[in-house]
């Protein structure tokens, strides 16, 4: 999700403007004087507990997923936290849920805060990679909207505090794609008329979800037959797909190199700022709703300081600064109230209740078996071009290896005999 693996590259290649505010703020900021955002916290005493103790926490977050103060007048969240609490923040980025999982599972790294998505949270709960939070230390949890508590991935809401949410939809060039917004469905991504102009998610979970919606299956299906049918569907898409990408969607769509792509609402809004001809729509047959939430890994050595950080992230001013910067949707009631009306009423960021209730599904973790099936099908789909699955290849290779070794040995033998003379 999000601006992932190539965020670093993109920063160097593109201008700052790309990541500017997604609301109308940018234009107004030029006309009016820049309003410096100030920070007031609800309970300053709470934050001074660790002052002078010289401790630090390791925060592991998605790329471009926090307010850095890059836009004038906005808050640099991590610096503010350090100033307020005296706790040093070591901030690093990951690119995919799977990368985060691999890091935690591998056990080499010690993080105090991680921000995985829904299905990954339930997987991590199951595998005991994250620990229960002490909500007494997170009084600001009260700001989290009711409908984002006790989500399916964390039914008792013991492990996570929601940070952002959003939907997956289709971003397309409306000047070329001549279809009514209401009529757009996921099959647009299979439309041969736009062959070679379509991008697709390079991530099995998201890609399978799209095929599953089209086939009318659940997004969380574990049925091998349904997964196989979804893979078959994806295979059919292959000939019209220009490329399987994740973050490149950002610049390919922005530059007009492709016309249609699935994308996350928040990022889509940021591209649409850059390119007027683009439009974003949540297809009529439904979509995936994702929630990214803050968690504390089991390996954390600074649990209380980490909870302080989570609480800080839920301070209204901070939550607002973050959401204003990253353009995703917020589950934080006070931050939502602070947004411009234009953003609040934006159907892309905040779709109406009916859509959320009836047409979106949240991922839950699949069984290991289903994950494995999906991964195998995905690899098979991706390498399907050379369909001639050569069963004889492996034996031939082994024989060739053996032959080589024998030839080399014979050659050496002959040589060594020659050397005698």
């Amino acid at each position: 999700m999000k601006k992932k693996i190539f965020a670093l590259v993109m920063i160097s290649v593109m201008t700052l403007g790309m990541f500017g505010g997604c609301s109308s703020e940018e234009e107004t900021a030029e006309e009016e004087e820049i309003v410096e955002q100030t920070l007031t916290v609800s309970d300053p005493d709470y934050y001074t507990r660790f002052k002078g103790k010289d401790i630090s926490i390791n925060v592991y977050n998605w790329g471009e997923y926090i307010s850095t103060g890059a836009d004038e007048g906005t808050l640099d969240v991590n610096t503010e936290f350090e100033k307020l609490t005296g706790i040093k923040v070591n901030y690093t980025n990951f690119a995919t849920n799977e990368e985060l999982y691999a890091k935690l599972k591998g056990g080499g790294a010690s993080y105090d805060i991680v921000i995985p998505s829904d299905y990954m949270i339930s997987k991590m709960i199951k595998e005991k990679l994250i620990q229960k939070l002490d909500f007494d230390n997170i009084p600001n949890f009260s700001y989290i909207m009711d409908n984002f508590r006790n989500m399916e991935y964390d039914p008792e809401n013991e492990y996570s505090v929601p940070y952002t949410w959003g939907t997956v939809g289709i971003i397309y060039d409306e000047t070329v794609v001549d279809i009514n917004e209401e009529d757009i469905d996921w099959d647009l991504l299979w439309n041969e008329e736009y062959a070679d102009q379509i991008l697709m998610f390079d991530n099995p979970r998201d890609a399978f979800a799209i095929a599953e919606i089209l086939l009318g299956y659940s997004l969380n299906t574990e049925n091998p037959d349904e997964l196989a049918a979804a893979a078959e569907k994806l295979k059919k898409q292959k000939k019209v797909v220009q490329g399987y990408v994740m973050d490149e969607i950002f610049d390919k769509m922005g530059a007009g190199d492709a016309l249609i792509a699935p994308y996350y609402a928040g990022d889509a809004l940021t591209i649409m700022e850059e390119n007027d001809s683009l439009n974003f729509v949540v297809p009529k047959s439904g979509t995936n709703l994702f929630v990214d939430a803050m968690c504390i890994p089991k390996s954390s050595k600074q649990k209380e300081a980490a909870e302080m950080y989570i609480n800080f992230m839920c301070e209204p001013d901070i939550a607002y600064a973050n959401i204003d910067y990253i353009c995703y949707s917020t589950p934080h009631s006070a931050a939502f109230d602070m947004l411009d009306d234009e953003v609040k009423n934006d159907p892309i960021s905040y779709p109406d209740e009916e859509l959320i209730a009836n047409r979106t599904t949240v991922f839950v973790n699949l069984s290991d078996e289903a994950n494995k099936t999906m991964q195998d099908l995905w690899t098979e789909m991706k390498s399907a071009d050379d369909e001639t699955t050569n069963k004889w290849l492996v034996p031939v290779f082994l024989i060739a290896c053996l032959a080589t070794i024998i030839i080399v040995l014979i050659r050496r033998h002959i040589k060594s005999k020659k050397d005698i003379f």
């Binding site: 991964q375 050379d386 080589t404």
Partner: protein, 269 residues
């Protein structure tokens, strides 16, 4: 001599900790299950990805051949220049490498894109647009572009040592240009050719970022496959380690074959 041997201790320690131990760990992972028990299931599972292996070897081979064809003449020409110009020329060859590898590959994405600079220029003269990016050709181009200096460098350093008088002598003895090339220069530069091939082929066969960026994700290479096992949807380091191990064996075999062509005293592995 004994005192000199002591000097090699730091590297030996380095080698054991960072080369030997990791290789043993890869082998260990490849032959074990999640619960640590011995299995050859992962190794035999690698067989189902045979076509990806063939595809990767094929692309890496093409890239290596193109690199060799491009690099050989230029390395020779540079090695015959005056000394001070040789330095400048080598610097120009190395110049792209001062820039970050990712950034260079990323630049190709914008060059080759459907609305990229190349298609744009072609469009001006009424051609195209052609599908340049997300093809196997683009992946090979990326490999050639990124690894060409690794071919030029060893070739140049070997050729610079070929004495001019050797070539003159062969001329005196009646060699024509073709014979000078194939009977004098090529044999003398063989060590450079083999090490150049190694330095291009090995990284090319295991790359994943080039195929990801320029291949559009539908040109899976072994590198992508391994990466998927460690950072992909299914976290399976055991299968990943097995694939890496098989890849290592393949490279070893290919290198052994190649070494049969080089003079015996300069065998690389």
């Amino acid at each position: 001599m004994k005192q000199l041997k002591v000097l090699s201790v730091p590297y030996l320690v380095w080698m054991v900790i960072f080369i030997l131990v990791p290789i043993i760990m890869v082998a260990f992972f490849a032959f074990t299950n999640e619960d640590g028990s011995f299995t050859i299931k992962h190794i035999s599972d690698v067989g189902q990805y045979a076509n990806i292996f063939v595809h990767s070897i094929w692309l890496a081979l093409i890239a290596t051949v193109i690199c060799l064809v491009l690099a050989y003449p230029i390395a020779f020409i540079i090695s015959r220049m005056e000394k001070h110009r040789q330095g400048t020329m080598m610097m120009i060859v190395m110049l792209p490498m001062w820039m970050n590898f990712l950034l260079r590959t990323y630049a190709w994405m914008t060059l080759l894109g459907n609305n990229g600079i190349i298609n744009h220029l072609l469009g001006m003269v009424g051609l195209g647009p052609y599908k340049l990016i997300n093809t196997s050709g683009a992946v090979v181009l990326g490999m050639v572009y990124n690894y060409l200096p690794f071919m030029i460098l060893p070739l140049y350093s070997v050729m610079a040592k070929i004495d001019k008088s050797v070539i003159e002598a062969s001329r005196d003895l009646g060699c024509n240009s073709v014979n000078v090339l194939f009977r004098v220069i090529v044999p003398l530069s063989l060590p450079g050719i083999t090490s150049g091939i190694t330095m291009v082929f090995v990284p090319a066969i295991s790359t994943f970022i080039i195929s990801r960026m320029l291949g559009g994700g539908s040109n899976l290479l072994i590198g992508d496959l391994i990466e998927m096992q460690f950072l992909g949807n299914s976290y399976n380091p055991h299968l990943g380690a097995a694939i890496s191990l098989v890849l290592m064996v393949i490279i070893l075999v290919i290198m052994t074959v190649m070494n049969q062509f080089s003079p015996d005293d300069q065998v690389l592995i």
